[in-house]
Symmetry: C2
């Protein structure tokens, strides 16, 4: 039985999904959030889709075992690899960031082509491009594996980032008018991409739109926590808790206590769901 | 009891350690090699030292369970994080790539400073710099997190690599005469680094030296396989076997069959050794 007081489960390979949590908390201030960061196995974006799909299945099953009322896949690579198939095997509502990102791009678009910049996993999955294609929108996707390490090295606003962005975008369509930043790290590159693409091109980030979709659908289902107190956030991480705490705090995205989650427990919960 | 017919165990986070295997096979053509690539948890170089140390302990314990006669840690990050402490808990000889790399640099050096380029884990461990310092050699280390993705993106010989190399090396010592490429990916950047540093600076790569050290010490211990047949190589990988096979083959480093190794088995063998 769905329980409005249960937490919303959110998972990602690292800290990036906390941008979705921040937006979720603004939309649903009384809801608890259980955030799972699989930092021992990050990055997901450079790994094969089947492997990412397996990681996502483990995280989702673990969150179900923790009795969450709904799950948000706050990672583009995992959303692209695992959805919509994952939603069919999981007994609570599951949202990814791909559909909301596409919806935001369709709203922002002014008749030209839509570009998708993402990890290798996200672009190879074709998840964004196929949805845009079905909506009749000319589209163009490019995997940008250097963007995440450039952001993590704090080089997002340097000539290195500009040269790498030129490299990835050199053959973009002439009528590009909207670009989906299909990775939670990429909004940091917005100034560099803006200079390269010009003001005519709009950059779309899915964190905010995803939170709006989740809030609206939980509200329709009567599954929003009533308050009055503020919701509590707990972070579980498969890697080093200090590093997670430090990185999340540096981004001003740390929202609660951080506890370790051994990978062996993730694997266990997955087989539990399968059996 | 040590057994000359047992395989040599080699582990790394990915395919890079196969450069050490190639050198080992030239030095010890009749020896079997059991290679463990922990591709599900790569990269190691951007993760905390304590985490990398844990991963290395698991791989070493697993290889001991497989009855290897010796272990080569063919990953700079794992060698820097886990050695020499790991060698004290493991009942077979263990070699890393750090000591051989330092020895090669000391042999190549002509009186100036020695530079060390490596992953964040390798440089933060201070493993190379402290050994060079104890040998009385002026030294300088720099973490280069963008180098691995640049090599993997096949951009090693492009203006992007040149700009990134300038960024990392801009404050190198004026008397630098030797640079240790302290990551198995970095030899691909030798042309770019050579252009930046000039012919005066020698680049040192530890794969060959490590194989020489291992061969010589196994020979002294009477632990070399006598032949006459060629040694057999088996690869075990924690991630996707097809991707490993494809990447290793593209580098011309694939040397035998590739089988999956579930992470749960690695974790199990670690607790076995600890108990």
């Amino acid at each position: 039985v769905p329980n409005a007081l249960a937490p919303i489960g959110v998972f990602d390979s690292g800290v990036g999904g906390l941008s979705v949590v921040r937006a979720l908390r603004r939309a649903l201030p009384h809801d608890d959030v259980l955030y799972l960061g699989d930092t021992a196995r990050l990055p997901y974006g450079s790994k094969p889709l089947a492997m990412v799909r397996g990681f996502a299945a483990e995280s989702a099953a673990y969150l179900v075992d923790q009795r969450v009322k709904a799950i948000v896949v706050a990672c583009n690579s995992a959303s692209a690899a695992a959805l919509p198939a994952l939603a069919e095997t999981i007994p609570v509502p599951v949202w990814g960031v791909v559909e909301p990102g596409v919806a935001a791009a369709l709203a922002a678009r002014r008749g030209g082509a839509v570009g998708v910049l993402g990890t290798t996993a996200t672009i190879e999955s074709n998840a964004y491009q196929s949805r845009l294609g079905r909506a009749g929108v000319p589209n163009w996707g490019r995997a940008c594996p250097l963007f995440v390490p450039i952001v993590e090295e704090r080089l997002a606003d340097t000539p290195i980032a500009a040269l790498v962005a030129e490299h990835y975008l050199f053959d973009r369509p002439a009528d590009l008018d909207t670009v989906i930043l299909a990775c939670t790290h990429y909004p940091a590159l917005a100034p560099t991409l803006g200079r390269l693409l010009g003001e005519r091109v709009q950059l779309v980030d899915s964190a905010e739109t995803t939170a709006q979709v989740v809030a609206s659908e939980l509200r329709s289902a009567g599954l929003v926590a009533p308050g009055p107190g503020p919701g509590r956030v707990r972070h579980l991480v498969t890697g080093d808790t200090d590093v997670f705490r430090h990185t999340a705090a540096a981004l001003d995205w740390l929202a609660g206590e951080v506890s370790p989650l051994p990978l062996s427990e993730l694997a266990r919960s997955r087989s539990g769901v399968r059996a």
